[in-house]
Symmetry: C3
Subunit: 356 residues, 3 copies
């Protein structure tokens, strides 16, 4: 189950450069394209004529032309024209609220009337010149909540990412989970430790001694439906950790936008934003490649965990302190789902009232 | 749903050259082979001994020898012999009426008693020395009726085959659909147009100026259950079009035999017959290769259209004038299905009458 | 259906050398590993924390450490420890009786209390220095009983293995099937025949004239649940066949341990044990490679036979004299299944008696 009345990341602008994009989001098969004014549009990937996928077509005069028989679909899901045909009574297909913002295309797969672009989270690091960003996309065959669990409990770094960002002290540092408004925060501080390989690289890039003792932080922030932004980094030991001055630290934000495809698959947009050496394009690429390698290590674990859970649906999982972040996130999602259901139910009873 | 009491193309003779052929047709798993008199036989691909596929065996003395334990199957589905065994009471397997004619092997997957080889369509171009033929086979994961729709509405050439046989004028020419006996004909005439690349090739091959203005024709003829033969070609403008003399035209017959495998997959035998330069083997191969490329362009569209329809079973499709050929063909097929059902029902009530 | 209260071969020691092994046996997903004392352990491949597959982890201090968040699983299915956690009340997972013996790892997928290592068959050829052994493993998508049928009726050698061990005389020699205690024996003797290619190799390796007339034997011995050991070989004609002296014969034991994975797939441990030229490592490898090639010839037949049976569940198969070995084996298995069901039922009624 996934909430539908909310904004998800659908794709990145580069994915729309050559041709329309077919992507299923929250069970909805959607064709994305950019019209002639450069605005992104999203319509059901289903031609009302004969059911062909509109995404196999092309864009002309700002319309999505079906690649089978030339029906021209408007961004509102209404057929605009078709050679030699009167289209006024053609049935429409769904169109979806869609916004391009902060370097991503955002989609609202639920009820159109409820979509408010103001609800798209503001991403300071995507807008400010003080930040650089690099990222990528994985398709993973697991429920999106398993990915949220993964990111809200970084204990797994010790085991899954032992050779890059994992270290024994993660396990040993207590985890602290807080609920503030619609945000769940799980944080861990490790004092006077050695930096793991990935952060030694970061310190060197920032002109610091990679072998120095450091204070390390991990602050995972979940906001619904499935965004996880994680402050991570190290500072020379005793200088104030997360709150230390720029010249004694190397830090960044791990960016995770998680978009359900189906109950057992999802799109994972990952990346890293940093506010040091932002002009160093090579460093951006080096970090991106490193993150790609590290995050790939989670894939088999997540997909086989999903298979285990699908094969053992009756089995209850443990909810330990380290799982508190994921557990709180799930509660928040459950509340959204319940709200959507009761909205739908009241809409239904209104209909019934009209009908009777 | 597919009619079973009718002749379908099962395979081409070259497919039986080396060894028996396993092919599923209308849901029936069938082993095809050529006996020692050269006659093609078709039996259920199931050894009555232990269920091994007979198609993995070999032919000896005109019998299909099971490759597992040596049972020798006759073309009538009765076991002929087995080493050291008395086979008289072995249960039989289904045998299928099968005929080799006009360069194809034809199968009747329904009730054997109803099969009459005289119902196999006569193919003039396959028998006459005035014609040359080249073709191929695709396996496509879509219902066979989607392929009929495709061929009975060539509007799609403008979009799917834009670089070879498509041209804007197809869209603009009105389409005319007629029902004559058990044949549906959909035709389009385009007057004084430029020939598209494929037909420029045809004109050149026929000694005509490829840049001349032409009249172009497309006459699609559907006959049940799923044969579509299409007269296509161009003639110098004003010379009579389809009815013009041989020396001012380049024309051919697009051959389409469509055989259901399952509800969502099918075998597509395609080819082209032409009555000019029939001795030019290289031209035959060139046309075959070109047609292979062009017809390949339909595959993704058809398979994704099928997935869209499977995912949206409740959705009704439009029936425009350009769809009239496919719609009429569907009606004809539906009538056949209804007839088969009522035959089966009356057969059943006869049985019941006997039983009571 | 497969009996679960019995010992199956799970894997070979080399499969546990590098890391834990994930293998599904009789529908149970199991993680196998070797603890620090060298003892093999087998637990459900499911971490009680969050459902991760334990087989993706590693072994430390004799415990299987979950590769996701570091839970340490004991060989008894009880969590031994987890960083910063009290684990006493963690739910346990299944552990399985497992034994390393005769060069194989044996598993008891059923009720733990009933497992007695004394029931593991004694394999003389695996323990005695007078024997050499080489073998391999196939995963085959068919029910395990089809493999037993295959091995208990070597008629198929004539057809499936025509170029190596098959020969016409197999078909012609009568087959004799006996039931002795919990063993089914099917045997065939061929007198004064030419050795087939594989056995010509064997005779040469043993210093005999490969073109001499021989007496050939095949004695297939099935014991439940699914072990088939086959005495095979040739001796110079008239010297006593299977009972002849070592210097006029070449013989060996074909080893077949068949382990169900699911209703339609299985693990097939095959090999050959011989008591001549046992020091010749190259010969062992040559035989192993030859057997690999020969046994590979069965795969397509078995998998397509399975598909045929799955598609035709209503169809009854023949039970000829040549099938008697397989039929008797099936009866023995059916008796075991019935016994397991009645045990389960009586256990249930005991529970109910307690409850009321």
């Amino acid at each position: 189950m996934y909430p539908k009345n909310c904004w998800y990341v659908a794709c990145t602008p580069d994915e729309l450069e050559q041709q329309p994009l077919a992507r299923t989001i929250c069970g909805e098969a959607i064709a994305f394209y950019r019209d002639n004014e450069g605005r992104v549009a999203a319509v059901q990937d289903f031609c009302p004529h004969r059911g062909a996928p509109l995404s196999l077509g092309y864009v002309e005069d700002g319309l999505l032309v079906c690649g089978y028989h030339g029906l021209r679909m408007g961004r509102d899901g209404q057929t605009a024209s078709m050679p030699k045909q009167r289209v006024a009574r053609f049935p429409c297909v769904r169109s979806y609220p869609v916004e391009e913002r902060h370097g991503f295309i955002w989609i609202w797969p639920g009820e159109n009337a409820l979509a408010d672009p103001a609800d798209i989270p503001y991403l300071e690091w995507a807008e400010s010149p003080d930040w650089a960003y690099g990222g990528g996309l994985f398709h993973i065959n697991c429920n999106y909540q398993l990915m949220i669990d993964n990111l809200m409990d970084l204990t797994h770094e010790t085991y899954v990412h032992a050779s890059s960002i994992g270290q024994k002290e993660i396990d040993e540092a207590p985890v602290r989970t807080r609920l503030e408004g619609d945000q769940v925060t799980t944080s861990r501080m490790m004092e006077s430790v050695k930096a793991p390989p990935f952060w030694q690289l970061g310190m060197e890039a920032n002109g610091l001694d990679p072998n120095a003792d450091v204070d390390r932080w991990q602050i995972c922030r979940f906001t619904p439906p499935s965004h996880v932004l994680i402050d991570v980094g190290v500072a020379l030991a005793g200088c104030g950790g997360f709150d230390s001055a720029q010249d004694v630290r190397a830090g960044s934000i791990v960016v995770d936008f998680i978009t359900p495809e189906s109950e057992t698959s999802m799109w994972y947009f990952w990346g890293m934003a940093r506010n040091f050496k932002t002009d160093d394009v090579q460093l951006t690429e080096q970090i991106r490649a490193g993150q790609h390698t590290i995050f790939s290590e989670d894939l088999e674990m997540l997909e086989r965990q999903q298979r285990n859970l699908s094969d053992n649906p009756q089995r209850e999982l443990l909810k330990l302190d380290i799982d508190a972040g994921g557990v709180q996130a799930r509660r928040m999602i459950d509340k959204m789902l319940q709200q959507e259901r009761s909205q739908a139910a009241s809409a239904l009873s209104t209909c019934e009232a009209h009908a009777s």
